[in-house]
Amino acid sequence: MTGKLKSGRMVVEGSYAVAHAAAMCRPDVISAYPITPQTHIVEDLSQFVADGAIDSKYINVESEFSALSALVGSSAAGARTYSATTSQGLALMHEVLFNAAGMRLPIVMTIVNRSMSAPINIWNDHQDSVAERDTGWIQLYIEDAQELVDTTVQAYLIGEDPDVSLPVMVCMDGFILSHVFEPVELLDQEKVDEFLPQFSPVRALDPENPESFGMFVDPEYYMDFRYLVEQAMDASRQKIADAARKFESAFGRYYGGLIDTYHTDGAEIILVAMGSLVGTLRDVVDDLREKGVSVGLLKIRAFRPFPIDEILKVVARAKVVVVLDKNISLGTGEGAVTTEIKAGLYDSGSDIRVPVMGFVVGLGGRDIPVGTVQRIVAKAKTVAESGVSGRSEFVDLKHLRV
């Protein structure tokens, strides 16, 4: 029945682009609960199913907890599965996230990044998915609609690899990517079929040979199973890099593997960010380099597994690392990316002693204009000279003085 969806280059909403990409992966089962700003994705997918344009089974549920639980069962039965959610919906899935990863089920889920309540707010930051960083899901962060399409297909290839067999979150910025119309190359079904083999699960539920998934395990075994998930995460590093290169060979587009870099060679100041903010930062880097500022950009594409080795290679000879975090780990005063880069530097066993400046930006949809980044870079210049950085800070507070 597939083939009814048009492929090729056209101007579409980001949500439609990801719905189309998910459809091209031929998921056997889709289950999701609508929540702003994810709604358009699942509306589009349920429309595809209703129109007979795709053969997927769409399971309507009463909550996100049930949506992901339905996919845990489906995936354990050997189905390719897809969901999408955001913010409070992702939080409601919290305990099922651990189960999906612990049972090694390669579910793919789009996270339309949105802030966490309270105060309730529907706009973008990365708090929802960053808060789920310890659940055992691979997390990929996306810069624009085309990368979103292409990474959705890569996500199945990565997660379903038998050495990995883990669920994958593809994280896109709410509204900024989900509700914006962009020119996008929508993928052709035949080319996706060539790129992405059919899902062949390591083990699957079979009535002829009954098995129990996610069974009770006592202290004799539990810790060892957790270590196996960590090993699988580690194995996914190479698979993420390989999937990006394989996609490049098939479709001619590449966005980096675990990370991407822009003008980082020899740069004294290195900006670090995830998601659509990277697009803004590319413009800032272009502008500042024209003015003679030695600045480069490191995009974190995979936040889980955390690509510390790749990051260290890039920042080794820099004078200062500037991390822009769209999340705050309350009680530490800084965002998670800042903390993890600092931890990785201390643990590197090398003599890299580059100062790391953390900036919490853009929470709950607050804009991050070019001028803000320029002010941050101006501060970074003084740290590059002194070699001493201070505590992380909240940028652009409006109604409070810091």
Binding site: G102, M103, V202, R203, E211, S212, F216
Partner: protein, 87 residues
């Protein structure tokens, strides 16, 4: 021993975990007082109180009885007493 890549096992394997080991107090069934009403069997949250073979009175499967004491509490004839178990 090698582990499978995920916690997957044969169904029904939880019976291998003999939870009777968690017990501190053990229900002792007095057949003399028991009138065979079956209240203990009905209330047992583990479903392991049953009629003795060939008789009309009741007993627990001590391999799985966790010693919660609900059967003793509910017995209308006070035919079940919870006693500290020596191990």
């Amino acid at each position: 021993m090698t582990l499978p890549y995920a916690p997957i096992g044969k169904p029904g394997s939880s019976v291998a975990n003999k939870t009777g080991g968690w017990r501190i107090f053990i229900p002792v069934f007095n057949a003399e007082l028991c009138n065979g009403c079956g209240t203990c069997e009905t209330f047992c949250p583990e479903g392991i109180v049953h009629k003795i073979e060939g008789g009309d009175t009741f007993i627990a499967d001590y391999d799985y009885c966790k010693g919660c004491g609900i059967c003793a509490r509910e017995c209308p004839k006070d035919a079940i007493t919870m006693e500290l178990e020596e191990k």
